[in-house]
């Protein structure tokens, strides 16, 4: 146990069966709580990848992080979601987003809808899924009557409002506001705090878990030098002082990072972090430090 925290690993590298199986087991052995499959062209298809992950692990939750909802017909998606939920015996946590990589829509031969249209589609998808979960005639049915936990990820007002209304888990992107379809840029701590406050205002009394995709992990004894390095790597978008504050960059010794996580929980309410697969081993000592 890592206190009230949860930690996930986002799998983004396509692999052979043997390598995938080994990686999934490592995620569980290292003590992570959640194994996530990203949804991009050139990566593994999320649902079969998660069913296989479920077969070779016993404990970790299995999460789509996050499905590009406009890629899918909601009715057919419901079949894959409830089917995967059944086949993983209720270990699925469904993560949905509105999609953001314009080139992927083009590669899939689909128009890139406006941000508004993409969120509209996401909303229709959520409502369709909930309707199907609640319909006893819908087959396959979900493992639990209420369906798998829902994670909604995004940064804009509309998507976070939807998340506050429907999601069990709110996935903050930790990215700054940029032109639609453009490259992602890390947000400052103030920006992230503003998004968190926005969600809290929409949630009212409802409880939700706050998740963040942690873009940068550097476990080191020399935090100052690592932050300098990161400032260069991110081309000065954020200063060293700003980087020292952001929850998307976890930098320092395991004890220092554990301390940061406690501070971030106070400030942002974040209790669930997802790290990228290339950082899973490096980050594992932090899980130890929190035990």
């Amino acid at each position: 146990m890592t206190g009230d925290f949860r930690f996930g690993v986002n799998m983004v590298v396509p692999d052979s069966r043997a390598a995938w199986v080994e990686k999934c087991r490592k995620v569980e052995d290292l003590g992570y709580d959640v194994l996530s499959a990203a949804d991009h062209l050139g990566m593994a298809p999320p649902f079969p990848a998660l069913v296989l992950a479920g077969e070779v692990t016993s404990r970790v939750k299995l999460n789509t992080f996050v499905l590009n909802a406009p890629f899918y017909n909601p009715v057919l998606l419901a079949r894959d979601v409830t089917g995967t939920d059944q086949f993983t015996e209720g270990r699925l946590e469904l993560g949905l987003g509105a999609g953001y990589v314009k080139e992927e829509f083009e590669a899939a031969g689909m128009p890139f809808p406006s941000a508004r249209e993409r969120v509209d589609h996401l909303e229709r998808t959520i409502l369709e899924l909930k309707r199907r979960y609640a319909d006893p005639e819908h087959k396959p049915g979900p493992a639990r009557p209420e369906g798998p936990p829902l994670l909604l990820g995004g940064r804009g007002d509309r998507i976070l409002t939807l998340a506050a209304e429907h999601a069990d888990i709110i996935g903050f992107t930790g990215t700054a506001k940029t032109p639609d379809g453009g490259a992602l840029v890390p947000a400052s701590a103030e920006d992230i705090e503003e998004r968190v406050k926005f969600v809290r205002s929409k949630l009212g009394d409802r409880e939700a878990e706050f998740n963040l995709l942690c873009h940068f992990v550097h476990i080191t004894d020399d935090r100052a030098a690592a932050l300098e390095e990161l400032a260069k790597l991110t081309k000065g978008v954020l200063s060293v002082d700003q980087l020292a504050e952001v929850p998307t960059a976890l930098v320092g010794s395991p004890a220092e990072v554990a301390e940061q996580l406690h501070a971030h929980r106070e400030r942002f309410g974040l209790t669930y972090y997802t790290v990228l697969e290339q950082n899973m081993e490096q980050f594992a000592p932090v899980l130890e430090a929190l035990r």
Partner: protein
């Protein structure tokens, strides 16, 4: 002559334990291929085949058949290439044009013309072939009834699947093609193949292993009233009789039509098993 292969197309969604048990049962009964259909309210095909592979050791895994209109071709190619990798190369891909209009409507997908539905099959196959540009792709099964679809199948597929249905097949009614009509479709494909060797598959629509052939033929006739009991008695898609007689019938079908790969739907899983047993090594 090709060796026999036997497949079952599984339909019913269920729990993990039920699905695993069913796939193992099919393998234990001697089937060569475990397939999944692609319909609303039925099992989710791609996750189901992954789990089928984990639950079994020997059988091939096939989609029997994907409705091309249900899937974006690029995403489908990702699903299939991933499945192929994750199942250790046991995947056989089956694709068709879809035929249940009510399902298109329920999913909000345009039904379109037969030509449009055919084009969606072409795009699905094209994207699959593109995903495997630099390496051999999984075996492809293409199924259908019309000239256009069967011509395309003869050009692209390792396995050509005959539906055994007559034009105007309506839901809830088994509109089987008669013996002459089915033979005509097989001849059409052989001409289109032009000497290329391909496996021919047939869906067995009605099977009863019984000592009372008369009663079972009458039951079949009630289901398929437009064909006489006599016609049903010689129809390759209708298998009635003792296991030995059924085995003889499949041998004859292979001899006369060249069909060597037979598929039954889940409800007939155990019915075909003694016939498979009789045909072992023949």
């Amino acid at each position: 002559m090709r060796p026999f292969r036997f497949g079952v197309a599984l339909v019913a969604p269920g729990s993990r334990a039920e699905w695993v048990a069913k796939c193992r049962q099919a393998e234990d009964l001697g089937y060569d291929v475990v397939g999944v259909v692609d319909h609303l309210g039925r099992v989710a095909p791609v996750p189901a085949l992954l789990l089928a592979a984990e639950a079994t050791e020997r059988v091939k895994l096939n989609t029997f058949v994907l409705n091309a209109s249900f899937h974006n071709p690029v995403l489908l190619a990702r699903d299939l290439a991933g499945l192929d990798e994750f199942t250790g190369g046991r995947l056989e891909v089956g694709i068709g044009a879809g035929y249940v209009r009510a399902e298109f409507e329920a999913a909000g997908i345009e039904w379109g013309t037969p030509g449009q539905r055919f084009e969606r099959v072409v795009r699905a196959v094209t994207e699959l072939e593109r995903a495997y540009e630099s390496r051999p792709r999984p075996p492809l099964l293409l199924g259908g009834r019309g000239d256009r679809m069967l011509t395309f199948a003869a050009e692209h597929a390792e396995t050509i699947a005959f539906t055994g249905t007559a034009p105007g097949a309506a839901e809830g009614r088994l509109a089987l093609a008669g013996p002459a009509a089915l033979a005509e479709r097989v001849d059409f494909v052989k001409r289109a193949l032009g000497g290329r060797d391909a496996e021919l598959n047939l869906l067995i629509h009605f099977i009863r292993i019984t000592g009372d052939r008369r009663a079972a033929l009458d039951a079949a006739h009630r289901l398929v009233p437009h064909l006489s009991a006599g016609e049903l008695g010689e129809l390759p898609t209708v298998v009635i009789g003792s296991a030995e007689a059924a085995a003889e019938q499949l041998l004859r079908t292979r001899e006369t039509l060249g069909v060597s790969y037979f598929t039954v739907i889940e409800e007939d899983l155990t019915r075909l098993a003694p016939v498979i047993e009789c045909l072992r090594g023949r």
